[in-house]
């Protein structure tokens, strides 16, 4: 699209690396070796699982954060802070609840010292363009989520940016509202009415990326890297049910699943979980629920991720996180875009309520070294008790404080479900379950 004008590079990321300091000294690498470009007339998507650093990358592009190494060039000039030509739309809308729609839209212009009269005129225009006519004097809390995000769009467009940067702009909206806003935006873009030269979109939703973008940069996690670049040579409007569209979606599913499972400790090798691997907080009941659903009728032990996600009313990314933990524990296997129950998974699903903890415990102790470690420490101690800090400190040598907190919370939940130990929130003590 917009192929009439010769493409010109607007934005270029060169060797961007981003680290966050950690108390243990060794910094956590969030982004590594990021290179990409954004040319005029393009919509480019950054696609990845939650926690892959895509939002961090977006904040570096907008100048809200500085990279540890590397640089972002906007029209050949290094970005050192928020820049006039780049405007942002937020996932959470981030509009000021105490300002009216008009005042919210005008706020960016006031900051640029645009004279009052002109600011008011431009704000009115942007409000009309984005379909908010009649809501000028409304307060955000009087609006629905979709309308609030429209305010976010109007506020970004009114300052006349060349590049619009969007951080999961539709993910906080319900499906229908998101779809309407997406197609409205695409119409305005196709008709060249936004005054924009390019759009950079961050999303974890594969279908959304394929339906909007001309190019998709797929990111892998820990550290975040751009693993694949996929061109989407379909013309707008795109039919989500067409075989071409489905083929691209399936292709991206397969590529994303081929990536490494969620391990991030420096010591770990891909595919195995070590004592200090980061673990996501996924409650045990959800893991058991997944095996239950897979075991039931339409699937009978095997399902495509997208079909299963629809069945469970989850988005694919959400399901993916649960499925990855289930795989780590040995209850499911991935085969391309399908998920298959293992023998252990079937045993778990078939077990009665009382036997379930036993099956779960067996796999937990085998697959998660941290759970086994806590269990062993409790067994060795004469009073079969140990404070939480004992394990937290161990983890913090390798993980950031919040990661360590997460990991221990996850294992605490699994261990309680498996009934291998109990945990008292008040005394912060782990205690061995009666053998």
């Amino acid at each position: 699209m917009n192929a009439s004008a010769p493409a010109e590079i607007l934005l270029a990321a060169k060797g961007v690396r981003c680290e966050f300091p950690r108390p243990s000294g060794e910094p956590q690498i969030v982004l590594e070796d990021i290179h990409f470009t954004l040319a005029t007339g393009e919509i480019v998507g950054l696609l990845g699982r939650s926690g892959c650093g895509k939002s961090t990358l977006l904040r570096i592009v907008t100048g809200l954060m500085r990279p540890t190494r590397g640089e972002i060039l906007y029209r050949g000039k290094k970005i050192a802070g928020p820049t006039l030509g780049i405007a942002m739309v937020f996932q959470t809308f981030a509009i000021f609840p105490w300002l009216t729609v008009l005042e919210n839209v005008k706020a960016g212009l006031v900051a640029e010292r645009v004279p009052e009269r002109e600011a008011a005129r431009r704000a009115e225009e942007a409000i009309a363009l984005i379909g908010l006519d009649g809501f000028e004097n409304a307060y955000p809390r009087e609006l629905s989520g979709g309308m609030r995000q429209r305010v976010g769009f109007a506020r970004a467009l009114v300052v006349g940016p060349e590049i619009l940067v969007m951080d999961e702009p539709f993910s906080a909206l319900d499906v229908l509202t998101g779809e309407t806003l997406r197609s409205d935006l695409l119409d305005l873009w196709s008709e060249h009415r936004l005054g924009l030269h390019a759009i950079l979109l961050v999303t974890h939703n594969i279908e959304e990326a394929v339906s909007l973008c001309d190019r998709i940069l797929v990111m892998s996690s820990h550290p975040g890297r751009i693993s694949t670049e996929i061109a989407v040579p379909l013309s707008h409007p795109r039919d989500r049910l067409s075989p071409e569209f489905r083929a691209i979606v399936e292709d991206i599913y397969a590529r994303m699943m081929a990536g490494p499972a969620p391990q991030r400790s420096g010591k770990s090798t891909v595919g195995t979980v070590t004592l200090t691997s980061w673990l996501p907080v996924i409650s045990a009941t959800r893991i058991v629920g997944l095996t239950d659903t897979l075991n039931l009728v339409p699937f009978a032990g095997e399902a495509e991720l997208s079909a299963l996600a629809a069945r469970l009313s989850l988005n694919v990314a959400g399901l993916f996180r649960v499925a990855e933990v289930a795989r780590m524990l040995g209850f499911v296997e991935f085969h391309d875009a399908t998920l298959r129950l293992t023998a252990a998974g079937r045993a778990l699903a078939d077990a009665g309520i009382r036997e379930r903890n036993g099956v779960f415990a067996e796999h937990l102790l085998r697959a998660v070294p941290l759970a086994a470690f806590i269990h062993r420490v409790l067994e060795e101690r004469p009073n079969h008790e140990a404070p939480r800090s004992r394990f937290l400190e161990e983890l913090e040598d390798h993980l950031s404080p919040s990661e360590a907190e997460h990991t221990l919370t996850a294992v605490t939940n699994w261990g309680r479900y498996a009934d291998i130990f109990s945990y008292d929130h008040r005394t912060r003590l782990f205690r061995l379950s009666s053998p």
Partner: protein, 574 residues
């Protein structure tokens, strides 16, 4: 505040309604006239106070009430200014924060009336021979009772500005000035207004106590309700005390209706939660918002404020780096300077005190402090035993709570020291033991904080939990212990903290009271400080105030903070 009446901010005048407009006009004129009338007296020479003594004729009471109210307003304005500057500095400066916040914590614990004896002299020297000096001393005393919690609330708000809004402000390159008024102050507003209301209710107590004071050989009685009562006490005029109580009641009601209800309703629009809810109602705010007259008066002001918003004051260029450019050399210089200042201040204090004080003084003050501590503890427990069950009963009946809650808030605001003469009268009449019977006075005014916080907690208690409790036939003690008390615990602790803090403060005026020429004293640190103030014995005032601050800080650390943390951790219902 710039965002108050900017066009489109809800100020869309309705049709012309003559009655409402006349009412507004009268109110506006009345406010202007009283400002002129009230402030005229403050510039007069000090001798006018002695030449025109306080009269007990009730016809003078409206004027005295006006003076009292103006003092209160001046202190509130000063507190707001202080809050904005101190809170911003503490929240934004990495170097200032570790000094300012502990300092604030200490300032908060010093008994308000303890400051008074020093500041009176200081302000009198500042404006020799003028009433203004004495006025400023009184205003300063009220200020010290109001500012600290407001500043804490503002500082907390600045530290917890929602991350996405903060990013939006940076992404759209808000200059610091715009960011302050468009993001930070609005976000802090609901908490700030709530704290202003709390400060105000505490403030009436101190405004009454600080108007008529005697330090050493200097006696000053500023025209006001407090002085009126002081004179009434000296002349044993119970009828005049009654008039003063009536006047104070009216003043608090008017203040609440014309200032705080509108303010609270207005602050409602700064809530961050995006849920629509029934806005708080305030007839006066409605009247103002719909009035064409107000609209006309406010319009030029709003133009000015909009210009102010665009003005670039205090404007460092926006940058993407957070707190960059730290230099350890500057750090060393800064903390070195702080250390030197601390040592110097400590040295001055020790030299000042060591000349006259003995170890026995320290022993005495600690012993007396212990008596007062015992009183405060017992009183808080007694007040809790009375008000927690009653508060729960009231709070679980929404109809009743609707009527009782404003009453409890009113009682909390009412300066209990106006009622002291009645108590003294009764103690003298029945020859009771002051050590025992003066104690309840300390908590007379602040026990209501326990009541209205418990009512608020019980009102907010989830109905489904109550239903579950009755479904499972929770009875008697089990119902209290397992269902209700944990649910209201955080509210109770908040109320009890305020009540006990207030009781410490009140001890200075409650442990020593007089009626005519008879003075009743209880054994306690409050009475000690009061006695030393009258005697003008500065080293011992310092000692008494310091020991009391120590007790308050100690009490907070050992009892209230852990309880508060416990409530936050385990008993939150949202």
């Amino acid at each position: 505040m710039p965002f108050a009446f900017s066009p489109g901010a809800g100020l869309v005048p309705g049709r012309f309604r003559p009655l409402a407009e006349i009412l507004v006009a009268i109110l506006v004129l009345a406010v202007c006239a009283s400002l002129v009338l009230g402030s005229a007296g403050t510039l007069a020479p000090l001798t006018t106070i002695t030449s025109r003594p306080i009269r007990l004729d009730p016809a003078w009471l409206p004027y005295y009430a006006l003076r009292t109210v103006l003092r209160m307003l001046a202190a509130m304005a000063a507190s707001l200014l202080f809050t904005f500057i101190y809170g911003t500095l503490a929240a934004k400066s990495r170097r200032a924060e570790p000094v300012l916040i502990p300092l604030l914590d200490v300032l908060q614990s010093v008994p308000v009336l303890g400051y008074l004896s020093f500041t009176v002299l200081f302000f009198l020297h500042l404006f020799p021979g003028r009433v203004l000096g004495a006025e400023l001393a009184a205003v300063f005393a009220i200020f010290t009772s109001q500012a600290w919690n407001m500043t804490f609330s503002f500082y907390q708000a600045l530290r917890t500005v929602p991350h996405d809004l903060e990013e939006a402000a940076r992404a759209f390159r808000f200059p610091a000035w715009q960011r302050f008024w468009r993001l930070e102050v609005p976000f802090a507003m609901p908490g700030l207004v709530w704290n202003m209301m709390m400060s105000m209710s505490g403030g009436w107590f101190f405004v009454v106590a600080s108007e008529a004071i005697t330090v050493g050989d200097r006696s000053i009685a500023l025209p006001g309700i407090g002085s009126y009562v002081a004179v009434a006490i000296a002349r044993q005029d119970l009828r005049a005390v009654g008039w003063a109580i009536l006047a104070m009641t009216l003043v608090i009601i008017v203040y609440d209706q014309l200032l705080f209800r509108p303010l609270a309703a207005w602050a409602d629009m700064f809530r961050v939660e995006q849920t629509a809810r029934e806005p708080a109602r305030a007839w006066f705010l409605q009247l103002l918002r719909r009035s064409l007259l107000v609209h006309g008066m406010v319009f030029p002001a709003s133009l000015f404020l909009r210009w102010l918003l665009r003005a670039r004051l205090l404007n460092p260029p926006p940058s993407s780096a957070s707190r960059s450019g730290r230099s350890w050399l500057l750090d060393i210089v800064w903390y070195g300077a702080v250390l030197v200042a601390l040592l110097w201040a400590g040295n001055v204090l020790v030299h000042f005190a060591a000349k006259e004080l003995h170890w026995s003084d320290i022993e005495t003050t600690f012993r007396l402090g212990f008596y007062t501590l015992l009183r405060v503890l017992i009183l808080v427990v007694l007040a809790s035993i009375i008000w927690v069950p009653l508060g729960v009963m009231i709070g679980l009946r929404p109809r009743l709570a609707e009527h009782v809650q404003p009453l409890a808030q009113f009682l909390a605001a009412f300066p209990a020291n106006l009622l002291f003469p009645l108590a003294v009268f009764l103690i003298l009449r029945w020859r009771l033991d002051p050590n025992l019977w003066l104690s309840p006075l300390m908590i007379l005014g602040t026990q209501w904080y326990i009541l209205f916080n418990v009512i608020a907690g019980a009102t907010a208690y989830p109905t489904d939990l109550l239903e579950a409790a009755s479904e499972f036939r929770f009875r008697g003690w089990q119902w209290w212990r397992r269902a209700v008390l944990p649910g209201i615990f955080p509210y109770f602790v908040t109320g009890a903290i305020t009540a006990s803090g207030g009781a410490w403060n009140a001890s200075i005026v409650a442990e020593t009271v007089s009626w005519g020429d008879r003075t009743l004293s209880a054994q306690g640190l409050g009475a000690y400080i009061a006695r030393m103030t009258v005697a003008g014995d500065y080293p011992r005032i310092v000692l008494g105030v310091a020991v009391m601050s120590f007790f308050v800080v100690f009490f907070n650390r050992v009892l209230w903070r852990p309880l508060y943390a416990l409530g936050e951790r385990h008993f939150r219902l949202d």
